[in-house]
Amino acid sequence: MTTSPTLVEVEEAVPSGPLAPPTSGKRVVTTITRDKGALACLVFLAIVVLMAVAAPLITKLSGWGPYQFDSAAINSDLGGVPHGSLGGISGSHWFGVEPQNGRDLFARIVYGARVSITISLSATLLTGILGVVLGMLAGFYRGWVDQVISRLMDFLMAFPALIFMIAILSSLPSGNRPVLLVVVISVFGWPYLARVIRGQTMTLANREFVEAARASGAKDTQVVFREILPNLRGSIVVMTTLAIPGFIGTEAGLSFLGVGVSPPTASWGQMIASSVSWYSVDPMFFAIPGAFLFLTVLSLTVLGDKIRTLIDQGEAA
């Protein structure tokens, strides 16, 4: 937000009642940086995002690329178990190597972060657009528009989405898997946001400032974009932040099931899937991507919850 209200001395101020000012972005940031747990989550996420953004640079520093085989790091006599303890963690392979082919785990984690972040953020963006636009249309125009959109939402929410995703992703050509993943995840994801937006739009559309705007000659588009949309900002921020970890999980899950991003592209879910058969001989191969997935989802959820609390307080204050 660019125009956060500055606190100035207020002449004969009254409690703000239903007219609460927006929670300022600044306040969210200061509160989170004061909370140790939230700050830890933020730092961890910053690291993951940095890994994703600077992946090629980082792997150049660490010395191994994600697709490079290092046959010296594995013991081919033992079926490809990494040399050394802890899955081959060493000075040159910071997180060890993949059994059997010796690809550097650190590099694959870094590139996997790229996949997770790109797919989940794109899915969030697409879900956000679909959810907000369709939810507002339904809530604002009511009538048959609402009927159509609401039935579609009911249908999509009642649909066994996972089975459908597996079916559709495995039957379509794997040409552009990431894009397909984003589209499929979003198609099933938007109704959850749209449902909330629809309800809030209905409430807002009956608020007096909307009527006042109409009474002063505002067009429908002005009412929607200038009066209603800004007041939905809080919910949109909260819902989408809390959706990101879900999408990361979904991507990992689908990749785990073999219908996500296709090899050799690295993905955390895929790494976990291939670690299953090595679980007893090389537990680190499972533990490292598992920990990254777990911590990323946890951090996002904790932060999302924090932001939700802050915005709720802001609206109730």
């Binding site: 002449e11 101020a13 007219l19 927006p22 400032f209 705007a213 109409r214 009474a215």
Partner: protein
């Protein structure tokens, strides 16, 4: 005398599951330039529906018949687009609750100047100047600084002043005030009434003042229309209605009000 605003035989009907319901029935009244009409009635008597019908803002499904003329131009049946040009420009409205009539996300200056630009065009800077002048006119101290404040930084009475500033910024010929003082406490009420009366006498705007409080009407209106369940019960000059109410219902309303002096306490 050519009246500014003439409503003739206005009827508003809602289709309901139990058949059509007339919430405003055969209403006729006129408002002259520089004149105030008070519309009084209990809750649910159709006062707000009358105001909304005039602006073409009734909820979906409502049907209107009759005639509403401003300066000789018929408003009923005008296209949505033509009506938008009237709303806020030739006829503007002040609502009951100043707490919720302003959008919490924008500064009051932006809300006023945007409305001005919608109708009158002009540059952003000119519109902001208009907003500052409008705030000054309604008695907001230090308007140059206050234009950049958000609604929550104003008190209830000040917000209603802001609403009035906004309603008057395009110099409308008719101002409809729908219970503009109900949400305010008594002393602030008196100040707002005084402000409205004063602004009206300087700008020559016609005003429809809706309230369920006869005491308020007595201090501001020249003519009074009493409504009950959509029916016009009594219509006449304020003196007539107050000194010699013709209808039982009006007498009942008058008895319910503790008599106060006609002057607004300063």
């Amino acid at each position: 005398m050519s009246d500014l605003f003439i409503v003739d035989d206005l009827t508003v009907t809602f289709p309901t599951s139990r058949g059509p319901v007339e919430v405003v029935k055969n209403l006729s009244f006129t408002v002259g330039r520089d004149d105030t009409l008070g519309i009084v009635g209990e809750s649910g008597s159709g006062k707000s529906m009358t105001a909304l019908a005039v602006l073409g803002l009734l909820p979906r499904g409502a049907q209107t018949s009759g005639s509403v003329r401003l300066d000789g131009t018929e408003l009923l049946g005008k296209s949505e687009r033509d009506l938008r040009a009237v709303r806020g420009n030739a006829i503007s409205m002040v609502f009951q609750d100043p707490l919720s009539s302003l959008n919490p996300y924008y500064t009051v200056g932006l809300q006023i100047s945007e409305m001005y630009q919608t109708h009158q065009g002009g540059s952003r800077r000119a519109a902001k100047q208009v907003a500052i002048e409008a705030l000054e006119r309604v008695g907001i101290p230090d308007p140059e600084r206050r234009v950049d404040h958000y609604p929550h930084q104003f008190s209830g009475g000040q917000r209603q002043r802001v609403m009035i500033a906004m309603a008057l910024c395009c110099s409308p010929s008719l101002l409809i005030a729908d219970e503009p003082t109900t949400a305010l406490d008594v002393t602030v009420q008196a100040q707002i009434l005084e402000l409205l009366a004063e602004l009206q006498s300087t700008t020559g705007t016609g005003m429809i003042f809706i309230t369920h409080d006869l005491a308020v009407i007595s201090s501001i209106a020249q003519r009074v229309l009493v409504m009950r369940e959509g029916d016009p019960v009594e219509y006449g000059t304020a003196e007539q209605v107050f000194s010699d109410p013709q209808h039982e219902y009006t007498r009942m309303l008058l008895d319910a009000v503790p008599r106060i002096d006609d002057e607004v306490p300063a």
